[in-house]
Symmetry: C2
Subunit: 191 residues, 2 copies
């Protein structure tokens, strides 16, 4: 059980090895997936991570009805990673880890993901970003509308940590729910 | 533009080639994707197909920051293929093509997908199945609750076409919206 030794996943910003690169963001994802499973098992909500989009180039059939993908590439996601239903509401969010001490770079989130969050809000969704500042071991819920307002109104390239502390909402950690964001959603969105 | 010549994708049930096997269900998927894009472009709804789940076994790095997946396998989906938001409601559905003249086999839909539809309904979702009977070139919306009621209450291995004709709701075809299911949703769910 690789859980919950937080130190092991703290990014070493000097590291350039592919292993640490490919592990980026995995601990938060794992925490959210465990929490979603808990929500599902206890009939609180139905929220899933979408599969990673992959562009498949070559498939071979070593045996009948057994397809082996032999060439494929990671694709950019056109939407956010997580969505589902909670208390009758459509929920949509993106989750990001950030290893900086000072700010979350806007380059970490794709413009079409921001567009997607905006479109979801326009249709009545509960939309937000979960942002973990790994060096401080703190996880925040940031409302999509407040994030977008700042993003559209600034010439900066990143979201300052001071802004995050002031406008974000801390998410609780529990063993059974290592990223208990729906508790925060209840408070922030008055559900 | 491979669109919308319906004959080309009609399944030949005698065919055993892998090519026809791998094309199964692709025409309906393409029709729904085009329709979803139309809904998105006209601000009607935000509904996307989830990426196909793939289990990645091996990745190589022929060049820096360019990951090439060299071994991967298709995985069973744990949820349905489509979800999103429409008129403030969470929408969830599975889409299937059926080449039989008489019935839709229950083996074509995974039990965990049925469980997922049930869970979504319990939380207030608009949940349904889109079923295309390819030999008759007709596409039906079937409410998830009615499908599940029949499924749970029968010892049959399939949903008879007579039941589908009586309980399903025909979905319109238009050039811009080759599977205009939200028009049917409006009527069936009184939105």
């Amino acid at each position: 059980m690789n859980y919950p030794n937080k130190k092991t996943n703290t990014l070493n910003s000097n590291s350039t090895s592919e292993i640490s690169f490919s592990n980026r963001g995995m601990k938060l994802e794992s925490d959210i997936n465990k929490t979603n499973q808990f929500y599902l098992d206890t009939d609180v909500a139905v929220i899933h991570k979408k599969p990673t989009p992959v562009r498949i180039v070559n498939v071979s059939y070593p045996s009948r009805n057994r397809a082996k993908i032999t060439e494929a590439y990671y694709q950019e996601a056109s939407t956010t990673d997580y969505n589902g239903i909670y208390k009758g509401k459509y929920i949509d969010f993106e989750a990001k880890e950030c290893a900086s001490r000072t700010a979350f770079p806007f380059s970490s989130i794709h413009p079409h993901q921001i567009t997607h969050l905006k479109k979801c809000m326009d249709h009545g969704a509960i939309a937000f970003i979960i942002l973990r500042m790994t060096l401080f071991d703190k996880t925040y819920l940031i409302k999509a509308d407040e994030f977008i307002e700042y993003y559209k109104g600034t010439t900066r390239k990143s979201l300052p940590f001071s802004w995050i502390k002031e406008n974000g909402y801390l998410i609780d950690f529990k063993l059974s729910k290592p990223c208990d964001y729906l508790k925060t959603v209840d408070k922030v969105f008055n559900l």
